[in-house]
């Protein structure tokens, strides 16, 4: 039971999401599903970040009424990974949006979302 800490659960969930994501973009033929797989993969990495930051019995790194600002360092979890997670989420958003834009363009060309239909460039 000693391994069943909140942090380890975070790690495990994160990795499971990452693996589902990898499985998804290796097996799904539908471009939208591939993008969703990527989003899962991405979320998995975000979870890992949060899990890394975790310190038992501490609160979120937001200085508000629940945190004594003078002693914040000892009351909040590691803020750095949280900052990273925020950045990563923004980047993930940008990438997903751009992927969807490409999908839209492709769909307009061939009226299909099947990635195996788009093999005009090869060899």
């Amino acid at each position: 039971m000693q391994y069943l800490t909140l942090q380890n659960i975070g790690f495990a969930t994160g990795f499971i999401l990452i693996l589902i994501g990898i499985w998804g973009f290796l097996t799904q033929k539908n471009i939208i599903k591939i993008i969703i797989s990527f989003a899962l993969f991405d979320t998995g990495t975000h979870l890992l970040l949060v899990a890394v930051a975790y310190i038992k019995d501490r609160t979120a790194p937001i200085i508000d009424s629940s945190v004594n600002s003078a002693n914040a360092v000892n009351e909040i979890v590691d803020p750095v990974p949280h900052a990273l997670a925020l950045t990563a989420i923004v980047i993930g958003l940008g990438i997903t949006a751009l992927m969807l834009t490409f999908t839209l363009k492709l769909f307009k060309h061939k009226k299909s979302l099947d990635i195996t239909k788009y093999k005009d460039l090869k060899w």
Partner: protein, 1041 residues
Amino acid sequence: MVDPIHIISSALGVAFAIGIVGKLGKNVTIAVMLSTLAFMAFISLQWFMAFFSGEQETTQIFTAGFKPPISINLQMGFNEALFTLLVNVVGLLGGIYLIDIFKKQSKNVLTVFLVLIMGLNVIIMTRDIFNLFVFMEIVSISIAGLVFMDENLKSSQAGLKYLIATSVIAGMLLIGIIFAYYFTGTLNIDDLIATNLTTIKGGGIVVFLILISIILELKPFPANGWALDVYESSTPGLGAIISAAAATASFFVLSKVMDIAGQEWYYYISLIGAITFIGSNLLGLKQDNAKRLLGYSSIGQLGLLMIILGFRDILGDQTPYVIFGILVSHYFAKAGLFWLSGIVKAQKLTDWAVIRKKPFFLFLMGTFLFALIGFPPFPSFFAKWTLVMELVGSGNVTWVIIVLFGSMLEAVYLFRWFGYAIKGENEHLEVFKIDLHKMIPVWIVALALYAVGYFTAQMTEVGATINFIPLAFVGVLLAIDFLPVFVKNTIAIAGMLLHFYFVYPDLDDIRLLFEVIFIIGGALALIAGYAYKGKRSGFYPVAILMYAGLTGIIEASTTLEFFYGWELMTAGSYFLIIRGKRSMPHGLSYILFSIGGAYALLAGLGMAHVGHTTFGMDILNNIQYLPVWAYALIIIGFLTKTAALGLHIWLPGAHGEAESDVSPMVSAILLKAGVFGLVLVLIGMGAENNQYEMLTYALGWLGALTVILGSIMALFQEDAKRLLAYSSISQLGYIVLGLAVMSHLGWLGAFTYVINHFLYKFILFMTLGAVVLRVGTHNMYQMGGLIKRMPIAFIAVLISIIALAGIPPLSGFAGKWLFYNALIAKGWYFQGVITFISSGIAFLYLWRLIHTVFLGQLKDNHRNVKDISIWFSIPIFVLLIGLLTFSFKPEWVLQPLGNMIAEFFPTGQLTWNGGTAISQYGYWSGSVLGITIGSIFMLILIWLLVSTRKAHKVKQFDITYSGERPERPETTHVAYNVFEGVYKAIWIATIPLVETFWTRVTNLLHDTAGFTRRLYSGDGQSYMLHIVVFIVITYLVIIGG
């Protein structure tokens, strides 16, 4: 100096401001963006200059008022300044190039472009690994976004694949970064290096994830299909940015992050680099799309850079120099080629033939291709030289083979492409339009290649001694290419004679002899050029390039200078050869054999350098590291130029199809470069050294077989110039055999052949070339009876074939006499018999040559041809006088030659009694022999004239074919297939085994490439699979294995 942070702030500021500035109109916005890029380039340049002068020390730039690890820090050192300079310059030029697209597209494109360049700057400067991740993602997003500049079905597919692949790679990087932070509590790259992550439990996997993601960004083979598609389908302006700027920045990232992993990773980085370099260039062989080809080549070059990076411990101080040379050449050349592809607008390689409708563009293309392959004077030449020297010096011969093999593959497809451009069909293609804003960037990078090449040479002690004056002369000729032939011809001849005048006092006897053949002979050959009318565009620069190389190898005092001259000569002669009408395939095989030979030479020179501190030519006299192998490699290098059996298949086509006055240049003169090299090496091996007996023995047999097979092949040619070409192969075989004897007489014989072959092959090629200009065909059966129309040509050919056949009294006999003496003294009887038989064969093919062309019936359509041009006759008769002098007063030449050779082979000299030479087997006098045979000849001639005075002359139309016209008229010609009977006896010797062998090798490579590239199925999903499998296999090899 401007703080480097302003590179980022100005880019970011303007990128945001474009939203507002955009209201002022497209042109203003574009101007603002370009000036921002110029400002960024200026900051980098300023820092680069400061570092270069040595006054500046590396500085850290802290953000947000904290020190790392709390905040992100950037670093500006020499490397960062250089790399940001490269990125910003190509950003600026690329921006200028893209102006027309910017005008058509929304202003957001400008923002994305600016952000892309800024992102590249940050990933170069940042010392924070998460920051690195963020900006790598920003770069990916901007590149994918810029794909929309030219949106179509293909580019959208490529963009999507690219985006999916790079985000997964970045995801892997992120996981690595998360756990690096988890284990160490820092994101600062320097701190990560200091903590030595690999020693921490689980740290190995973290390091693996970080490194493998960054390696994947460099598009390792075969997990790189996603990148190739972008190269192929996106607009060329973007391809240039990806290939030149993004790849350069990614490479720099690997070089700074790889220290996190430590030295055990170096080997694997080199290994991945090697697989990429070979794999990519192999697949390039099957490409017929120009942009995809450039993609393969870009990826290959990155592989080469990875190899070098992995060897940075071994290369030591030389690492930056080598990396700089390769990287900068690739950077300029690839940007230039991508931009060119946008101007020329030819997709298929064969369509690039259109480029020569604007010859200046052909020159630009040639500049870029030669820079990529590593020819002088470009930086890559000096870098490759240093790389090979260092790799061999540290005992990594296998790696040298990998590097040279990969480069060879690259040369194959690049030169094939160039061949299409120079010679392909282009009548059906429309001339391309040129926009000034697209031209300027291309000009600048081409010019920069030359400038940086000169600068790179000055950076090494050896390179600085290289004489660039002949090359500058080539530049001058290029600049005055618009002038008419006679002006340029005069300038070229004057330049060569002037050069000779300055150089000859410092040369020793052997070098002087070859310099006379190369430069005086070359000037003589140029005289024939007066016969041409018009401009003869492009001829003079390349001819002088070849002569610059030839004089370069003579004057070389270091092995680097020698190799430099060798490569210039190869480049120049390639251009000369490919000028012929049907020379495209022959030019290709010539350059490929030459490059292969040059690489063998390079490896051999590298081995020769081991154990020596200098690069002086005298290191050839004392090779310490695997001397037999080193000598063998160097000899093979030279044998490709002398067209020894097995390496000869380029020669017949190259010499046969060349222009009339080029054939003597590339035959009588150029082939001697290989001989000169052989002479140097064999002197180095020493006369009495038993260690190399096997080597010279093998060389002797190779020479003997070349002699006989060359003459047999000459026997069955219908094409006069090809006949002469095969005869050259055979003659050069004599020289190789003579040198291999390694005795005084052998060498005397060989040198006699060198002079003789120069004289009579010059005359023969010149004369027949002039005849071909008049009658318009090479085929002998289409000529005949030309003695009546061209008596001058007839006399020239008659005298020179008597000399060539070795019939007394002319000088060919002197060579043979010395030669058999030497072979008998050495005890090489079999070789002697072979060459003896081959003299008989030579007689047969020469008889056929003169009989078919000059005797018999004059063809109807040749009734009014004039004798050969006076400009061709002048050099021919100058050399005829030389030939006759040599024949009747051989002692004038042979005695000084003997003294020269006695320096190396003092025993077994000829004894001279007046004009009579005495060896241990007999004696011979040129003058006496001449008078005797001359008198007998005159007597027979007089008797014939008297006895046939009443004979009835048969007119041409005295014969009929029973009123029918034969289906193939040439079969009725007496000389057509005249040696059919002989053929039945010795056909077995004419099976083109060697050609079949090389064809099989080529096919094998192409088939492998064709099969392997099916890996790139076009399916975005399988590219993901490649990435995952690549990661798993690398993991198993590095961590699991």
